[in-house]
Amino acid sequence: MINPFEAFKEYKYRKRALPLDDIVASKAMVVNKLMEGYQHLLDEEVKELVWLARENTIMRAYALAEEWTRGIDYDVEDIEEFCFELDRIRKAPYRIAGPGGLYLSALCNNVKDEEVVLRIGDMEGRIHLLGYRLPKGKRLIVEGDLGDFAGIGLEGGELIVRGKVGNATGAGMKAGRILVEGDAGHRTGEWMMGGEIRVEGTIASIGQVGFGRIFERGRQVYPPITRPRRI
């Protein structure tokens, strides 16, 4: 009888160098480190359980998030695991969604992989501010819904949301592309400076857009296509 495994005759059978328990433990360790970093961010940013999304608070919180995640050896799966960990914790201030989105954005922007897929459809809470400053060459695919300010300040990356998004999607984005497969909320494209937003569902309203293009169900809605005047 033919032995279809002949090509592996010379392969020296080795025991697994890294047993499953070790992998799980090392994964848990990475997620713990990420949680620690997030805890530091909350300690510094969330005073008296209040956090307001303003330009300066967003920039400061993001800088801190990058600082606290620097040096942690994590991958795409760890980011996803961190999302679920965050969702599991019921107590404040973990439930304040803004810093969480910025912290996740910092993780996505600095991970080695070019493509990040977050399957967060089962999460109870909505993540705001995800995709903040997503740089060129990165693709963030979110399977699930997002909260407000998705893709804020996008810097050339591609954000794909396989669900719906809240208000002010793509606010202040400079370049890149946002694709939303569901609906988008109010003030979509607010202060947008470039790039493209495509919404396959409906857009509740468009914000004050500087530059860039917005499409709703394949039709360009900003800048509006004007018909030539009849003379």
Binding site: N3, F5, E6, K9, Y11, Y13
Partner: protein, 445 residues
């Protein structure tokens, strides 16, 4: 002829076409070098006697790229190649493609076949194959597959044989290519738009392919092909005329091309290149995902697996049909040819990862829900090639995570098959279950 000499000639042809005839951008990278996929796979097709489907927009060099590589690799003047092409259109008949009865002899009560140039020449080009109605596509199925052509109880077998077919994207005049015919193509490539700058430059060089014409050789070859002697008797004469054209190419254009003996040597060198263990294990991992179904035992075009299956995260969940046995055959031949071209002693992971998308793109039918989800992503390739590249990258990631375990499982299976009392390895990938089935274990406990 040494492998080095063969490679030099192969590269000379690639460079000559790329620099003088077919202007396009490189779009595939292997071992740090960038190549144009249409040109590279076209030449590999000639080398391995394969079958290539070239898709693209009208006027972007699908047919001409095939004509150039065929003319130079097989030493056939361009004019003769033009005269032997088959055009796909609804009125096409077997008599125009394969051969017709010799009417003179038929009047005398003798049945004899006049074979077409298309059938007699080693290179076959079918232009716009998807304009052939689906019912007529089966007419060329056997010839396309094996190089055996039958008409009026006569048979003509091509000793040397390769095929190029071009297809436009769907429009009002096109039909779908039937799955059995599609599966017979080894690879699919796209002849891309070269960009506005090269495109404008091509406009200056409209008569660039005149250099591959040789009217005298063309006339003499045509005379031999039209001769009514039996085909094997004509072959030596055809070869000597092709060699004369080869001399012309060398003297006039400075391009050295291989003669028939050299082509055969090249092929035997290619065939002798082995796969390394990783390339072999990765290919099997990939094939497992393209054929496995936990629910129904294997993928079948008319069966749809349920949501919520444990193997939802693998390719098998996103595809509709099952990988045929022709896929690994194509993969092996082209990977070996690529390794030979690059001067490598073994086929490694990079060769396999380069070839796999082009060998599977036309063969895999993705589920509508999956392809529609991904079709709007930013990309450079047509959707089938893009999805195939993504699939290969995805399986490669999985393979890299557990390559030692997969190789262990395969090595263990070898020992079990040799009679050792061991238990097959367990793991979370279809390949482990397929190994268990090969060892006579049940798929489901």
């Amino acid at each position: 002829m040494s492998a080095e000499d063969g490679r030099r000639k192969f590269k000379e042809i690639y460079n000559f076409i790329g620099n003088h005839l077919y202007f396009n951008r490189p779009d595939v990278e292997v071992k740090g070098e960038r190549y144009n996929s249409a040109l590279l796979f076209g030449l590999l097709t000639c080398l391995v006697q394969g079958k290539e489907l070239i898709v693209g927009e009208p006027g972007l060099g699908k047919t001409t790229s095939a004509e150039y590589v065929s003319s130079l690799f097989y030493r056939i003047p361009l004019g003769l190649i033009w005269g032997s092409e088959v055009a796909g259109h609804p009125e096409q008949t077997e008599e125009k493609i394969v051969g017709r009865p010799d009417l003179g002899k038929l009047n005398q009560g003798i049945e004899s076949v006049v074979w077409s140039n298309f059938v007699q020449l080693p290179v076959k080009i079918v232009d716009e194959i998807n304009r052939l109605p689906e019912t007529k596509q089966s007419m060329i199925l056997d010839g396309v597959d094996r190089g055996n052509w039958e008409y009026l109880n006569e048979i003509l077998i091509n000793e040397e044989f390769c095929l190029f077919a071009t297809a436009n994207y769907q429009d009002r005049g096109t039909n779908t290519i039937v799955a059995p015919l599609l599966d017979r193509f080894d690879v699919m490539v796209e002849s891309k738009h070269p960009g506005p700058n090269l495109s404008f430059f091509i406009g200056y060089r409209e008569d660039k392919d005149r250099v591959l014409r040789n009217p005298e050789c063309e006339r003499e070859l045509q005379k031999v092909l039209a001769d009514k002697r039996p085909y094997p008797e004509k072959l030596p004469e055809i070869e000597s005329l092709c060699d004369r054209y080869g001399e012309y190419l060398k003297e006039e254009l400075g391009v050295e091309t291989p003669d028939r003996r050299e082509r055969e040597e090249m092929r035997s060198q290619v065939a002798g290149i082995p796969f390394d263990m990783d390339a072999e294990a990765f290919s099997r991992t990939m094939l497992a995902e393209l054929s496995f179904c936990y629910q129904y035992g294997q993928k079948r075009s008319d069966e749809r697996c349920d949501e919520g299956c444990h193997y939802t995260g693998y390719l098998c969940h996103n595809i509709q049909n099952c990988a045929s046995n022709r896929l690994p055959a194509s993969l092996q031949r082209y990977s070996k040819a690529l390794a030979w071209f690059l001067g490598d002693e073994r086929v490694d992971l990079e060769h396999v990862r380069t070839v796999f998308p082009y060998a599977m793109a036309h063969r895999v039918r993705w589920k509508e829900s999956y392809s529609s989800k991904r079709e709007k992503e930013l990309r450079e390739d047509p959707l089938p090639i893009y999805l195939a590249k993504k699939a290969v990258a995805e399986v490669f990631r999985r393979y890299s995570e557990q390559k030692e375990e997969i190789k262990n499982a395969l090595a263990l299976a070898f020992r079990i098959m040799e009679g050792e009392e061991l238990e097959p390895a367990l793991g979370d990938h279809p390949i482990y279950l397929e190994i268990r089935r090969d060892l006579g274990r049940r798929l489901r406990d």
